[in-house]
């Protein structure tokens, strides 16, 4: 770029200023709506404050209360780990199995057809899906109970004395089943996008590898475990990180379906944060729970990246 002096600002400086000017809006929005809240979260966690009210400096009191005195904390952390673990396991297995089944079909049109079929449910808003599960499947007069009642009648007619009707319940309202019912939402957990991601991984396996496996007589389940899974480790690692991050933060579905109840059976820290901040007006305490969850997410992500090997790392390429 040639430089000539025009006025008191050199060409180069005006060129720089132009760049900064165009970046003002993106960077400004980012600062206002992301970085200021981040700072506020850390600072606010040291205070007690209400919306529009006074604030009082507490030091680490919020954290001490959350970690040692709040009786909700550890049961809710346990629930969170159960739900997150369940989600990680299901998202690592079910879509991969389906992707492998689809990939094994011979005709491309049918493979495309099934990829579209599993993608269709993403058009239903998440809220609607949770309301459908809560209102139509787990309900007193919902699908599971109606099915049990029908099965009960069928069994009784044939003189078999099994009390299936006794199993009916409000699945989300019964303390013994609520947590499992929440985890079970979305059965059979075959997310269309996950299927696509695994499918991409499977079709990325070089033909030479597949041919070598065939020649060596490595087929079927053995090939799935010895060749396919190591070759899609990069995708598995991605889904694992995403579902860990999502699982730890997840509370919208619980808010819609159970509000943490019955009792605190389905309470998770993120939902507890919401209630503290917006129902009990304890914004500082809410910020502290947010900081705790951030630390947890950060730790889990670092551990995953350190200990789970992607395909490239397995091959020694990265």
């Amino acid at each position: 770029m040639e430089i000539e002096n025009q006025g008191f600002l050199s060409h180069r400086v005006r060129y720089w200023l132009g760049c900064y000017a165009l970046l003002i809006i993106p960077i400004g929005m980012l600062s206002v709506f992301v970085y200021i809240p981040v700072l506020w979260a850390f600072i606010g966690s040291l205070y007690a404050f209400e919306v529009g009210g006074d604030s009082e400096f507490l030091g680490l009191t919020n954290f001490i209360e959350f970690l040692f005195r709040d009786p909700t904390t550890w049961p809710s952390v346990g629930n969170m780990f159960f739900l997150t673990g369940f989600m990680v396991v299901t998202r690592l297995t079910m879509p991969l199995i389906v992707a492998k089944l689809i990939f094994s079909l011979t005709r491309e049109p049918s493979r495309y057809f099934y990829r579209v079929v599993f993608l269709v449910p993403i058009v239903v808003p998440g809220v609607a899906m949770q309301l459908i599960w809560a209102g139509m499947i787990y309900n007193d007069a919902g699908m599971i109970n109606e099915f049990l009642r029908a099965a009960h009648d069928w069994v009784q007619l044939r003189g078999i004395d099994i009390d299936l009707e006794g199993l009916t319940r409000g699945w989300l309202a019964d303390p013994r089943t609520a947590l499992f019912a929440v985890a079970f939402v979305g059965f059979p957990w075959v997310g269309g996008i996950d299927v696509l991601i695994y499918y991409a991984g499977l079709s990325g396996i070089p033909t030479s590898v597949n041919e070598a496996a065939l020649i060596e007589g490595c087929t079927g389940l053995r090939k799935f475990f010895l060749i396919d899974i190591p070759m899609v480790m990069s995708q598995l690692k991605l889904i694992m990180v995403i579902s860990l991050i999502m699982g730890i933060q997840m509370f919208e579905g619980l808010f819609i379906m159970t509000r943490g109840g019955p009792g605190f059976r389905t309470m998770v820290p993120a939902l507890w944060m919401y209630f503290n901040a917006f129902s009990f007006q304890r914004m500082g305490y809410g910020c502290a729970i947010g900081v705790f969850l951030f630390a947890l997410i950060f730790g889990c992500t670092v551990l995953t990246f350190r200990y789970v090997r992607s395909t490239e790392e397995l091959e020694g390429r990265a």
Binding site: Y15, W16, G18, C19, L23, P26, I27, M29, L30, V32, F33, V34, I36, V38, W40, A41, G44, V51, L101, L105, Y114, V116, F118, L119, P121, V123, V124, P125, G126, V127, M129, L131, I132, G135, M136, G142, M143, A150, P188, V190, L196, I197, A200, G204, S234, Q235, K237, L238, V241, Q249, F251, E252, I256, Y274, A277, G290, V291, F294, I297, T311
Partner: protein
Amino acid sequence: MKSVRNLILHFFIGIFAVLTLIPFAFALNNSFRTNHEIYHAFFGVPASFHGIIESGRLVLQGKEDTTVAFLDDEGEEVQMPAGEALREHWDTATRGYTLGWEILRTYLLNTLFVVVCVAFGTVLSASIAAYILSRYKFPGHRALFYYMIAAMMFPGVLTFVPSFMVVRHLGLLNTYWVMILPYIAGGQVIATYIFKSFFDGLPEDLFESARIDGAGHLQLYGNIVLPLSKPVVSVVIIMSIFGAWNNFIWPFVTLMDGDLHPIASGLYVMATSQYAQNFSTLFSAYMVSSIPLLLLFIYATKPFIEGVTSGAFKA
């Protein structure tokens, strides 16, 4: 041998597909049934469909005045001519949709407005930022890029409560801005990253020759960069549409005015209102709320599948 293997594969994939779609199939089926039907028999096809076919057949045969029995809402039998019965059956089948549409219309329009603003704003903001950070060298360009993508490190759960305080201090509560600006600010981060990786790969010769032809900075961006990045733009648009469409808790917290709700929080508000037990209407509303994305889906399946299958999604 091959066909037997395919048949078995179809069978198992079919089971998974059916299990995945069953809740939505039941919601669709029940959206055409009356509350009376849903409460008394969970499984079953809409009675009004049967009625429509029966009375419709009579009408088509020109026997509109034949008296037929019609079950009203209380389950009582009323005698009426076939023509009238056909209309009554049609009304029964679509009653949920009429009411559901009436309630959801405002929410849907709000969502459409917000989603268009968010998608447009994200593409504009992210592509300009990425273009400058990728193609121009100035003091701090690297630092600004890291400043941008480091935002990915902070999860929504950390900023949820303080974001509320920020928008409250800016006086944005209860306005459309509260949904538009934070979504653009958050969504542009990953979008900038995607755009920048794409722009970095464009050959410098392209820009050189355009500059020699006398193209200014804006023309470079508008005439060369944007048209070339169509596939990336569509990925970013689809991502921001899905994000804005599905976000529920943020609008639920920041909008007290019921008329501003987008579809996600609107559905929740509806399901906890006086319609809570009105399953026919609720199921119709769920189906209505899926139509816009279904249309988008039909229109954009191919680029979407290609985008996700391109192999970029791995860690």
